[in-house]
C-alpha cells in the first residue's frame, strides 16, 4: 500500500444524470498523520539526518508526501 493512501480519505459527490460534465468520480482529501498522533510519543524511529533534511521531518511517522493531483487520484 502506498504510504500516502493511508493519509487520504475520499467521498463521491452526487452526480446528476442532467450534469453536463462527466462524473469525475471519487474526491480525495488529505488527512495527514499528525491529525491522529496527539502528543508525539517518545523514542519514535528516526530518519538519518541527511534523509530528514530531504524529507522535511525527522520522523517517518509524520512523513506525508503529496503527489500532484492527489485530490483526483487519491
Amino acid at each position: 500500500m502506498a504510504k500516502n493512501q493511508v493519509y487520504t480519505k475520499s467521498y463521491h459527490p452526487y452526480h446528476s444524470p442532467d450534469d453536463p460534465c462527466p462524473d469525475p468520480g471519487e474526491k480525495h482529501y488529505s488527512t495527514p498523520p499528525h491529525l491522529y498522533m496527539g502528543f508525539q510519543p517518545e523514542k519514535l524511529p528516526q530518519y538519518t539526518p541527511k534523509e530528514a533534511l530531504q524529507k522535511g521531518t525527522l520522523w517517518p511517522a509524520l512523513y506525508d508526501p503529496y503527489e500532484k493531483n492527489q485530490k483526483l487520484k487519491g
Binding site: 488529505s30 495527514p32 498523520p33 499528525h34 498522533m37 496527539g38 502528543f39 508525539q40 533534511l53 530531504q54 524529507k55 522535511g56 521531518t57 509524520l62 512523513y63 506525508d64 508526501p65 503529496y66 503527489e67 500532484k68 493531483n69 492527489q70 485530490k71
Partner: protein, 189 residues
C-alpha cells in the same frame, strides 16, 4: 536578535521557463495563509503566550522567514529572465506595471498584503487554534500549487515546505496539550 546563515533552508531549483508559476507562488509570499503572515503572526503572539510555549512560537516564526526566503528565490528564478511580454502572457502584466521586476507582498490575485490577515487575541488557546488552522491552510495551499505545477524540481521544494506545515501543526497541537495540562495541575495544588 537573529543569526543569518547565507543559504536556503532547502535547495530551490526551477527546471521550466514558466513565469506563470511565479504568479501562483506569490500566494505563499504575501497571501492570507502565506509565509509572511505566518512569521509575523507567531513572532508577535509569542509575547503574550505562556512561558512554556514562547520558544515554540519563536522557533516556528523564525523558520517561516526561511520559508519566505525560499518562496522569494523561486519567484525570482521564474521571473528574472522573462521579457515584459512573457510576463504579460503569464498574467503578471499588472504586477510589472506596478513593480517592474521587483517582488512584492501580494497574493496570487495581486491583492497587497494586509495585517488584517493575522490576529493576536491574547488568549493562548484562541491564538494557538488560529496557528493550527493557519498551518493546515498553508498545507492546502501548497497542495493546490503543486497541482498547478508541472515543474518537478519546484514541486520537490514545495513538497518539503508542505511537510514542514505538518510538523508545525503537530507542534502547535502539542502546545495546546501542554497548556491544558497546566490547568489540571493547578487544580491539584
Amino acid at each position: 536578535m537573529w543569526v543569518y546563515e547565507k543559504k536556503l533552508q532547502y535547495p530551490v531549483k526551477v527546471s521550466t521557463c514558466n513565469p506563470q508559476l511565479a504568479k501562483f507562488l506569490v500566494e505563499q509570499y504575501g497571501g492570507a495563509d502565506g509565509e509572511l503572515a505566518a512569521a509575523l503572526r507567531y513572532l508577535n503572539q509569542r509575547y503574550t503566550i505562556p512561558d512554556k510555549v514562547v520558544g515554540l512560537l519563536n522557533d516556528i516564526g523564525t523558520e517561516e522567514f526561511a520559508h519566505l526566503e525560499m518562496i522569494a528565490a523561486m519567484v525570482y528564478k521564474l521571473t528574472k529572465d522573462a521579457t515584459p511580454e512573457q510576463l504579460k502572457q503569464a498574467g503578471l502584466g499588472d504586477h510589472y506595471v506596478n513593480h517592474g521586476e521587483a517582488l512584492f507582498y501580494s497574493n496570487a490575485a495581486e491583492v497587497p498584503f494586509t495585517a488584517t490577515y493575522i490576529q493576536a487575541k491574547g488568549d493562548p488557546i484562541a491564538d494557538l487554534y488560529e496557528d493550527i488552522a493557519a498551518e493546515e491552510k498553508a498545507r492546502a495551499t501548497y497542495q493546490w500549487i503543486i497541482d498547478m505545477s508541472d515543474d518537478v524540481d519546484l514541486n520537490d521544494s514545495l513538497r518539503f515546505l508542505r511537510e514542514r506545515e505538518i510538523v508545525h501543526s503537530q507542534r502547535f497541537r502539542e502546545a495546546v496539550e501542554i497548556l491544558k495540562e497546566e490547568r489540571d495541575r493547578k487544580k491539584v495544588f
